[in-house]
């Protein structure tokens, strides 16, 4: 039972960052119809930006988190402008191949610049932990969970309460009509990709210090994000949030009670099962964003 409670606690911490990853991807895939294979690399970049700012340049930990998110946003905008804008009318397979190319370039650039040795980041939380009876949670993990929730709430508000969000939702529903109504589609696409990228970078920036940072950490992140999107239904922030927690739960239970080697298989099994039996996702209310 104690072990189970510990798994549940871990699920919440992992699930928060998975939800961030999933929301970023569901926005990009939903609005732009781009299968973003580089999503996991944005996640890795977020983690390395934190390492660069806080461990190498000696900045405050919280400031370096903000820097990581801002740089993730800028990197996303640059990728959109250089790689995706010129092939806007291309089919989904073409953009997929371009994003795979981008993933390979980015991952090996990380490997080249930082080397294969994993890095760790010291945080102001140190090793202190909150002990509640049989379970203990480090303060760092609690902070990660709270920050992830804040970012989820922030993106929900951005999509549902701002003018930019309204334009994004309009583009998701009908690109051509939105364009006729005066929505600047090019800008919306760039903003969407930048927002999705900064959420992925935020997930990496938050989770990186909890574990270690290595060039391969993003390898599975894109696919896990896809599992979340498929679970939650396309373009749904609420669905992606719940999907993130479900995936984290499945991984924790899988690792704890089946075999730790199969932790990463859980996401893939979820993908296969959901697509076989309920291809619209568990929470899709038609194809809608918000």
């Amino acid at each position: 039972m104690d072990q189970f409670l510990q798994h549940i606690v871990n699920m919440f911490i992992l699930g928060g960052t998975y939800a961030l990853l999933g929301i970023g991807l569901t926005l990009i895939f939903g609005i732009m119809r781009v299968v973003n294979f580089a999503h996991g690399e944005l996640y890795t970049f977020g983690a390395y930006f934190v390492y660069l700012a806080s461990a190498l340049l000696g900045m405050n930990f919280f400031v370096s988190l903000v820097i990581a998110i801002v740089f993730g946003c800028a990197l996303g905008a640059a990728i959109e402008f250089i790689l995706l804008r010129p092939i806007r009318s291309a089919d989904i397979d073409t953009t997929m191949l371009v994003m795979i190319g981008a993933m390979i370039v980015m991952q090996n650039t990380e490997q080249y610049v930082w080397g294969g040795v994993a890095k760790s980041v010291n945080t102001p939380f140190g090793e202190s932990a909150l002990v509640l009876g049989p379970i203990s949670v480090s303060w760092l993990r609690i902070f990660v969970f709270v920050a992830a929730l804040a970012l989820i709430a922030g993106s929900y508000l951005l999509i549902n309460r701002t003018k930019l969000g309204k334009a994004m939702r309009a583009t998701f529903q009908d690109r051509d009509t939105a364009s006729l109504m005066g929505v600047n589609i090019q800008f919306i696409y760039m903003a969407t990709f930048a927002l999705g990228s900064s959420l992925a970078a935020a997930a990496g920036a938050l989770l990186g210090p909890v574990y270690v940072i290595s060039p391969q950490m993003g390898n599975l992140a894109s696919l896990k994000a896809f599992a979340i999107v498929i679970l939650g239904g396309l373009g749904s922030i609420g669905g992606a949030t719940i999907g993130g927690f479900i995936l984290a739960f499945a991984e924790e239970i899988g690792a704890g009670y089946i075999s730790s080697g199969y932790r990463d298989a859980m996401g893939f099994l979820i993908i296969i099962l959901v697509l076989m039996f309920k291809p619209t996702g568990l929470f899709a209310r038609a194809e809608r964003i918000g």
């Binding site: 291309a90 981008a102 370039v105 696919l223 990463d264 697509l275």
Partner: protein
């Protein structure tokens, strides 16, 4: 002349061991050849039916493991104390079983994943490959996990009454790979020029139209998946018995990416495409290794992939054919129909 040209190419390839004696380069030729066979099998799905299967390395790896385990023998305890013991069989049996088992997996994956299309199809195929990789990594009793299957026997060749020869050497393996490659290419060429091939191209160009004229789309897709998986399994088997060691890294996503780059660079949906693309990307590492670390080589790979999609979206072979005004393969070079 047009009919002779492919055989002249085969002859040119066959002459390579006569003038090339450097073992490193010969090794590069053999591994390139194996990957060309894998790329040819991917081309059947990607180029002719238009389905981007990004889990193709799973069939390659399944072929490699099935073939290796058949020839090494195995002793595994399944759930419920059920024990499977298998005595080592000759290598050629391993090859056949590698092809068959990969084909069966192709059938199962096709049956499941062709229910969805586009991005979802891609994700299902990748997921399948990753699950297989994790099984290979964690089912240590069967696969030795990360410790790898070692001392896999090489191919043997022989005639009854004359005795058998082990194919340890590079030259022998080169001709073996070339022979298998030619057979696979003949199979694919026959298939794509038949009724089945035309049905595949029809469903690539316009699936709903193909359905409306009575083509059983799912049946042809699954047929393509089975043949494609079987050929990938053959390539995997060659790989296992040539290297004589395999570990779960054969299931790496980057190998699928390598096959995809080869196909799209050469020209998807053309018979010569995977060979041209395969030769280019097989020998880039040979040239690049003198001045670039592996990371830089991969960066080059990725950048080239983006560049080719931007500059030559149809690939090299169709561009050359257009340049010379040759269209030898009408079914494959049809202009795509814009809806």
């Amino acid at each position: 002349m047009k009919r002779l040209f492919p055989w002249l190419v085969v002859l040119a390839f066959a002459s390579i061991p006569l003038w090339l004696h450097d073992p490193y380069l010969l090794n590069a030729c053999i591994t390139t050849g194996i990957f060309i066979i894998a790329a040819m099998s991917l081309n059947l799905l990607l180029g002719y039916t238009g389905q981007l299967s990004l889990g193709h390395v799973a069939f390659f790896g399944i072929g490699a493991y099935a073939s290796a385990l058949t020839s090494l023998g195995l002793d595994v305890e399944l759930i419920g104390g059920f024990r499977v013991v298998h005595e080592p069989w000759p290598v050629w049996m391993g090859f056949v079983l590698g092809v068959v088992i990969a084909g069966i997996f192709g059938y199962l994956v096709g049956k499941l994943s062709f229910r969805v299309r586009g991005a979802y199809f891609v994700i299902v195929t990748i997921s399948f490959a990753e699950v297989v990789r994790l099984v290979a990594l964690n089912w240590v009793e069967l696969t030795q996990g990360p410790l790898a299957l070692t001392s896999i026997p090489p191919f043997t060749f022989g005639l009854p009454g004359l005795g058998y020869v082990d194919l340890y050497g590079k030259v022998e393996n080169f001709y073996l790979v070339l022979g298998v490659g030619v057979i696979c290419q003949l199979v694919i060429s026959r298939l794509t020029k038949s009724r089945v091939g035309r049905a595949m191209v029809a469903l690539k160009e316009n699936e709903s139209l193909a359905v409306s004229v009575g083509i059983d789309v799912t049946r042809y897709l699954i047929l393509a998946a089975v043949i494609s998986a079987g050929i990938a399994g053959a390539a995997g088997s060659l790989y296992a018995h040539y290297l004589r060691i395999i570990d779960p890294d054969v299931f790496m996503f980057l190998y699928t990416v390598t096959m995809v780059i080869m196909v799209i660079t050469g020209g998807k949906g053309t018979l010569a495409g995977p060979i041209v693309g395969g030769l280019i990307f097989g020998f880039i590492p040979v040239i690049a290794r003198s001045f670039a670390t592996p990371e830089l080589q991969w960066i080059l790979y990725g950048a080239l992939m983006i560049l080719i999609v931007f500059v030559l979206p149809q690939g090299i072979v169709p561009a050359i054919e257009k340049w010379f005004g040759v269209t030898d393969d009408k079914s494959a070079t049809l202009e795509p129909v814009k809806p």
